[in-house]
Amino acid sequence: MRSYVPAYELQEPRNLLDALERMAREPGEWRPFAGGTDLMVLLEAGKLVQRKFLSIWKLPELSGITVAPANVNLNALTTYSEIRGHELLAREFPLLCRAAAETGSIATQNRGTLGGNIANASPAADSPPVLLVYDAELELVSASGVRWVPYHGFWNGYKKIAMRNDELIRTIRLPRQRKFSKQFYRKVGTRRAQAISKVCFAGAARMDAGRIVDIRIALGSVAPTVFRASESEKILRGEKPTPATLRAAQDILSREISPIDDIRSTARYRLRVAQNLLAEFCESLQS
């Protein structure tokens, strides 16, 4: 049942500092609200528990993409459409553009933000596996200061992130120096467009003389959080992607992920598809 709209406050702070000060003065009382593509769905379903929000959508301090020699900084309100249309991202971080293109529809991509996707912390989100593969770091700001944290490990469980309730995500930083010669992304959903994933897989590797020198593998929808498959990576690092190595990695992968039965899929299907996607990725490393 739809929520009772007059019960919800949504105010526009004057600027970023004003937003941070209000969040510091009344901790937990005010939560940020960006493009609304997740929160408005909860409102419609009568499941929006929080009552007071600060609309940060129009804050210029949180918008835009800047490119520095060592990294690319995406401010939190960067939309999927902006990501898709960015030439340097398409060249150097193609998986992020792929993930953005696979998120919802064009209407969703015009309003959904990268910061919102991280803060919403759904294990089924499409861009977080890519952020793990690219070793993203997050800049968290509050009235009392700034801190940088690696995105890997930025959660404490299902839909819980390691962030104080007076903090905002300001920037997502992607380091540019790491060079991957092979990159792979595949989202498996009920249909090609506008689906929430059953399994989402992002992988990247650096190859040298047929050997995997460096590798990153991350998945969505197979664990309570988005998941970096570190143990599977260990099996593959330093090896040639032979069928025997692949089988060993698939075996480890099945033990490190923990897919469940839910409204979108079954644990069994997700496990099989995750292993198949690992095979598809490894086969792409041979060429």
């Binding site: 709209v5 007059p6 019960a7 919800y8 526009e12 769905v41 609309s55 459409s81 969703t108 467009a193």
Partner: protein
């Protein structure tokens, strides 16, 4: 449940005309358009951003109006289905939907036309893949999509001839 919020003023331009509307800040733009501005052409389908029936243009971008809170429409330029035709002349997309049977029950049609119009405003000569992608957020339960797709192809052709 107690009220927490006061109604706010939402000053915006809809289809080129200035509006000053009163709404709760979290009210869905979809409801504000239909109930405050009296523009009932925009339809509600799913109410959760899946079906695209409520598609409008907000500052030139295609959005689902069921997912936009009223406060964020303040200062915006909005186009709804009522603002697609030029005075008495239908747009190329509307004309093509009529000619090719792109509309059946009509619920998805305003959103489909906005999505198609938005694509053509960004990309005058889209590929077939680009057309399919541009319409992928809009669901239709009547036509099987073929006639809608053909309508948009025809609108592209008509637009080329005109320009």
């Amino acid at each position: 449940m107690p009220k927490a919020a006061r109604k706010i003023r939402v000053n915006c331009k809809i289809n080129g005309k200035a509006f000053s509307l009163e709404a709760y800040p979290m009210a869905r733009l979809l409801d504000v358009l239909r109930e405050q501005a009296g523009l009932t052409g925009t339809k509600e389908g799913c109410g959760e951003g899946e079906c695209g029936a409520c598609s409008i243009e907000l500052d030139g971008l295609l959005v689902n109006s069921c997912l936009v809170p009223a406060v964020q429409a303040d200062g915006a330029k909005i186009r709804t289905i009522e603002g697609v035709a030029n005075a008495s002349e239908l747009s190329a997309v509307q004309q093509a939907f009529l000619t090719h049977g792109g509309a059946q029950c009509g619920i998805c049609t305003p959103g489909m036309i906005l999505a198609a119009r938005n694509l053509l405003s960004r990309n005058a000569q889209p590929t077939e893949t680009e057309i399919r992608e541009a319409l992928s957020g809009n669901l239709c339960r009547c036509t099987g999509y073929t006639k809608i797709f053909e309508s948009v192809l025809e609108a592209c052709r008509a637009q080329r001839v005109r320009s």
